[in-house]
Subunit: 253 residues, 2 copies
């Protein structure tokens, strides 16, 4: 069994604890939480510590804290030359303190507190400084996920930006769709099957082949009608810039 | 049995034919296609006509053609005072010729040729001029879908614009995500579980509650890192405008 200690008690930490609890190859021997009163499930209460000096020897320490706390947390670890990884998509490997062997264990998914998720489907992006450590990290990763990738810091930076487009920005477009519905007394629920199908289409078609709509068709009558319909300046600006971008992509082909 | 004639042989027409074939309440007595050599399945070949004057008497005529052909096609129908509807999200009721009773039968979904879809889940947005016709249209709609809504032309206009945001623009963000991956030698497949989960989240959470990411957190370190990472002018412009929009929405709350 590979012994793991998890530093952190947020969403990512909790989802990792849940996933490791199902794996026979992994023993989560300890969880470090800043405050004792965090509700952490799927772990014996006796394994939770708030004391850096009480941290036991493990094969792998996973720091699952907010990006800006990674450097500080990694420097507080009271040991050297052990394998310490963070779980961030945007922090580089170098944000970890030099005294330990560094790595990254980045689950590329959006985690919601209380919403169960099948960890087997979540892509895990791994990086280590030395090959021996990659073997350990890979063994841990394949024990909980079917999608394990070797991704260096540059690739991870690209992935994280791309994830902002397909997740954060997409969700914001859902929010604007919701606004337009509310402003016009239409239930947002009508759009939900379309939202799902738009995502599902991409599982088999390339986004280029899946593109439809007035911008793609260069249907200026509909585009003009939409632009005069949108009275909100922000909505209108986003409509124009994304319509132009779709049209320019069409010209490139 | 309600007798229906379908005018058109494109994606929407074909999906309607498939859906009606499963309904015991509906008899598709005829399909009008401009050219005989279109491949239309789930209908007897003898029921396909290319001749306006061969159109039989039906309870309902569904015009499933491109938006800009609706007016011309509806004026070519060689009869009067029958119920004629179009299937467009953006064309108003008034785009239909006055000689017949008008209505709209708008399935709010993105149809892909050859990709099966469960019609029961597709929202159907109905509108008629007179109440008696609404009863007929509603009976047809509930025989193939569990999501039937009464939506007037103004509401439908709003819905269509909202659909452009959550479908066309969202798909374009997937395309940009794909581009960023390709430019940095990362498989786009890594993003697919995230794309699906982003859509699925919205089935139970409001988009406002589901919003995450650097813009939402006002994490200027990450935003600046992303902006300097993006060398493509178009990607960079879209990143900035959507980040600002998320930040401004945050301030409104």
């Amino acid at each position: 069994m590979i012994k793991i200690a998890i530093i952190g008690s947020g969403n990512v930490a909790q989802h990792l604890i849940d996933a490791f609890a199902k794996s026979k190859a992994i023993d989560v021997i300890q969880v470090f939480s800043r405050t004792q009163n965090q509700i952490i499930s799927n772990i014996d209460f006796s394994k939770i510590t708030t004391d850096w000096n009480a941290l036991k020897e493990a094969d792998l320490y996973i720091i699952a804290v907010s990006d800006d706390a990674i450097t500080k947390v990694s420097s507080q670890l009271p040991f050297e030359n052990r394998l310490v990884v963070h779980t961030s998509g945007s922090a580089p490997l170098t944000s970890l303190d030099n005294k330990n062997r560094k790595g990254v264990f980045y689950p590329l998914q959006t985690f919601t507190k209380g919403k169960a998720i099948d960890f087997k489907t979540i892509p895990l992006c791994l990086e280590t400084q030395i090959e021996k450590d990659y073997t350990i990290l890979n063994e841990v990763a394949v024990s909980i996920s079917n999608n394990v990738y070797s991704i260096d810091s540059n690739q991870r930076k690209a992935l994280h930006v791309a994830a902002v487009f397909v997740n954060n920005f997409t969700n914001h477009l859902y929010q604007i769709g919701n606004e337009i519905c509310q402003e016009n007394n239409v239930p947002f629920n009508i759009l939900k099957p379309l939202i799902l199908e738009t995502a599902e289409k991409i599982m088999t078609l390339s986004p280029k082949d899946a593109q439809t709509g007035p911008a793609k068709r260069n249907d200026s009558t509909t585009i003009n009608a939409h632009e005069s319909f949108l009275s909100d300046e922000n909505q209108s600006k986003i409509y124009k810039i994304l319509t132009q971008s779709i049209q320019n992509h069409g010209k490139k082909l």
